[in-house]
């Protein structure tokens, strides 16, 4: 497959980033839904749902209520089904919390007749940032691909570590 070298956001000078890219057989609309729907999101994000009204300037929170808070931030740019820019503050430990706020950009591009390229750029990271902050993306994106292409959950060890924790009462 020919890469598309000019696609994707341009980084700011001195920006430190990590980039994650995946091809998924789905439509941009389905992909957008999987990113913004709380239940769908939880199925490939370690069981953690993301709550927001997804308007520009609104806030979001990724958590299993009463169990663990994962991240929070603002939806800086919301352009369905193509582009979502969010500020990102990791919350799951004191260590990652102290890293402050970074930025996550989701870009969806249709490829061919039936596929999309999804690029997640985690930028504005401090130099030598704790790898935990952006280390979860490969597993999340792999689970997202499995969900959209097969309708199944990816059950690799750890992928669903928080699912069922909150709802164990009912």
């Amino acid at each position: 497959m020919e890469p598309y070298p000019e696609a994707g956001i341009a980084l700011h000078p001195d920006d430190t980033a990590a980039v994650f890219e995946i091809y998924i057989k789905t439509t941009p609309e389905r992909l957008w839904e999987a990113i913004t729907d709380r239940e769908m999101r939880a199925r490939y994000s370690f069981g953690v749902g993301t709550e927001s009204d997804w308007s520009e300037g609104s806030t979001y929170r990724s958590s299993v209520p009463g169990v663990i808070d994962i991240a929070e931030g603002e939806n800086v740019e919301v352009d369905p089904p193509r582009r979502l820019v969010q500020s990102f503050t990791a919350l799951w430990s004191d260590e990652v919390r102290s890293a402050g706020t970074s930025r996550v950009t989701w870009e969806i591009e249709p490829v061919g007749d039936d596929s999309c390229r999804l690029i997640v750029t985690h930028s504005e990271l401090s130099k030598g940032a704790n790898g935990e902050i952006y280390g979860g993306w490969p597993q999340i994106l792999s689970g997202l691909k499995t969900l959209l292409e097969t309708g199944e959950d990816l059950t690799t060890p750890g992928s669903l570590r928080y699912s069922g924790v909150a709802s164990s009462g009912g």
């Binding site: 341009a10 980084l11 990590a18 890219e21 060890p157």
Partner: protein
């Protein structure tokens, strides 16, 4: 395509280099290798085709980033099949040991009960 890309030592070296310091220009990557700029460019092309390297513009520079996602997909496709029963066995052993410690259930019955 991923396996072909990983088959060449120089390309693995390039990935190691990006793992050490992600987001480098072609010049920076060439400086560390005993190879022409053109040679490095060709290897980067193979890595890009396999989606193991992705590029981003930063001002006038083109930066190369290690994309670990295709390797994760390989892991999830083949390794998870073996890791899951192992994880299940380990948690089974843990449960058995914990129960034994509390002297609650005889070993044989416990194993049958956990089925």
């Amino acid at each position: 395509m991923v396996f072909r890309a990983l088959a060449a030592p120089t390309r693995r070296e390039l990935l190691d280099e990006l793992r050490r310091d992600d987001g480098q220009t072609l010049s920076e990557l060439s400086a560390g290798l005993p190879m022409s700029r053109f040679g490095v460019m060709k290897h980067l092309g193979v890595l890009e085709e396999a989606n193991l390297v992705v590029t981003r513009r930063r001002g006038r520079e083109k930066l190369h980033f290690l994309n670990p996602v295709p390797i994760r997909l390989i892991h999830d496709r083949w390794v998870s099949k073996y890791a899951e029963p192992l994880a299940a066995t380990l948690s089974g052993i843990k449960r058995e040991l914990e129960e034994e410690q509390h002297g609650a259930v005889p070993r044989g019955r416990n194993r049958a009960a956990s089925r």
